[in-house]
Each structure stands twice: as structure tokens, then as C-alpha cells.
Symmetry: C2
Subunit: 147 residues, 2 copies
Amino acid sequence: MTPSVPNRETTDYLESRIRAVGLRPTRQRLALAGLLFQAGHRHVTAEKLHGEAMKRGIRVSLATIYNTLHQFTAAGLLREVVVDTDRSYFDTNMERHHHFFHEDTGLLEDIPSSELELKNLPPLPEGSEISSIDVVIRLSGTRKLPL
Amino acid sequence: MTPSVPNRETTDYLESRIRAVGLRPTRQRLALAGLLFQAGHRHVTAEKLHGEAMKRGIRVSLATIYNTLHQFTAAGLLREVVVDTDRSYFDTNMERHHHFFHEDTGLLEDIPSSELELKNLPPLPEGSEISSIDVVIRLSGTRKLPL
DNA sequence: TCAATATATTAGAATAATTCTAAAAAGGCT
DNA sequence: AGCCTTTTTAGAATTATTCTAATATATTGA
Ligand SMILES: [Mn+2]
Ligand SMILES: [Mn+2]
Ligand SMILES: [Zn+2]
Ligand SMILES: [Zn+2]
């Protein structure tokens, strides 16, 4: 039996992904890749990821968190989602999709692009091409029960 | 002849809009309202608006620019558009519409909502309601001629 | 296995947008 | 005018992020 589906649980898998994009698989990058890629798709901020790393006893500086998030983004392992003016969100889901943004909690939730289609794209301004189309549905919580 | 359409050129018009939302029509607010509302719809950042004010000899502090933009936004005269992580954009167009964002220049361009329809909205998460739906088409410039 | 070299990490300083503070100025009302 | 409220503002503070330049780690190939 030759496994054709990579086992995402292994360190080898993470190491090969990192090597594949031309980066050295350092302790920090492997650990962060573990947090990012081993538990389904995620939306994280730098601070949140740093907090998680600390909690698991991984010692990484915040500078490295930023470096890594940006390197992974440049490498196509992550994308950045702009939903909040004062915090950057990074998304491990590289498929085309959109987002619910819970304004009260800061939670980002995926909307598969199959569930939300754009009808007729307007003509683009001369001499420009689409880099991405971002749909964000901002949600405000409704109290279930009156206060 | 009783004019039923307000003349947006007059200071009285601006003054009444400002009063209408419960704010005092100060020198600064009138001047900024002039820049914002007397020349068609606009998308401005705090710095840009401040720069324009200076250029026209209006002395306003940056703190007042921020105060005013936020007060106008809270009052429903402006809306904030989140397209850039490190700069806030304010939009004088309060109709439902979407945006082209020129990533190279920082220019925001309106897309009337008639030109871009959303097909089928996905079901909302339990206990939440839509605050807004923001569609941003990010554009990268294409060189007209090869370098 | 061991330098030699290239890359990565990090503490701490620097930056930049924005917010805060609290004191002075202006607006509104009688 | 006089009184009270709202606004403006300079400058300090805050916060996310980036930069610097010194140290540490990874890779290569003899
Ligand atoms: Mn900010
Ligand atoms: Mn920022
Ligand atoms: Zn996502
Ligand atoms: Zn607009």
C-alpha cells in the first residue's frame, strides 16, 4: 500500500510543505505550521497565534510570528483577509471562498464559494486585472433573550 | 418658486445637515463637510482629508479630523470601508454599493449595486443578523506597455 | 564530521495610524 | 453679557506592525 494522500499529522508532511516553498524547516516554522495546518482550516491573528504557541510551550518571538505569517502568505500557504482595520487575519483556506465576520467576537467564518455566487461582474476599469474578489458579510449578534 | 431640491453648494445646506444629526455646525465641521459633501461622492482617508484642508487654508487638527469622521459616521453621514489594514477609508456614498480597490494606488471606486448582484445568500449563523455586505474587487494594475 | 556560508530568530528600538487627556476655545440660550 | 455645554487641540499615549543588527541555526560539501 502506497499512501497517495499525505498524512497531515506527521512532522514530515509539514517539513516537506515548508521545503517545497523554499524555506528552511526550522523549529519555529514547524511548530507554527503545526498549529496552522494540522487542525482544519483556521483564521488567526498574529497575537492569537503567538498566544497559542506560548500556551503549548513553544518559544517564538512575535517578530518571528509576523515573519512566518508573511513568508507563508508570500509562499501561497496562507492568505491575508482584510476585515478589521487594526488587526490582520491570516487564513489557511486557500480555496476561493468568502466570509462571515462576527463583529462582536472577531470570529471569521468561511462561506464556500458554492453558497454565494456573484451574478454579473461589472466591467473592469481599463488596464487593470482582478487580484481577488472578497465578500464579507458582517454580522452583529442578536441577543437571543432580551436583557 | 419653492426649491424642493436642496442646493448643496450653500453653507446653509451643510449647516442644516450637521444640525440635523445633533452636532454643532462649527467652523471645522462646516469646512470638512464642504470638502466631503460638495463634490460628488468621495472616499477619503484621515490624512488625505487633512491634507486637503491644509491646502485650502483651513486650520484643523488631525484629532479633529478623526473626531469628525467618526461623528459623521456614527450620524449616518459617512460609512467606513475596510479595504486596507493600515488606513481607514471613509465613504460619502451611503447607498448600497460595492468597490473596486486599486491596490497599487489606494484608489477606491464605486460599483453600483445594480452592476453586481449576489446570487444566493447562504443561511446566516444562528442568532446573528446582517450588519452589511461588503464586496471588494481588488485590482492590480497591468502595465499597458511592456517595460 | 566540520568548517564555511546562507538563512532565521530575536530583543528591543522605531514607525505609523489612531486614540486619549485635559486645558483652552467656541457655540447656544436666556 | 453670562452661563453651561460641546468642541477643538497639542501633545502624550497606545497598539499593531516593522525594522535593526546581533546571535543562533540550518545547509552544504570537503
Ligand atoms: Mn490601525
Ligand atoms: Mn496597523
Ligand atoms: Zn476563510
Ligand atoms: Zn463607495
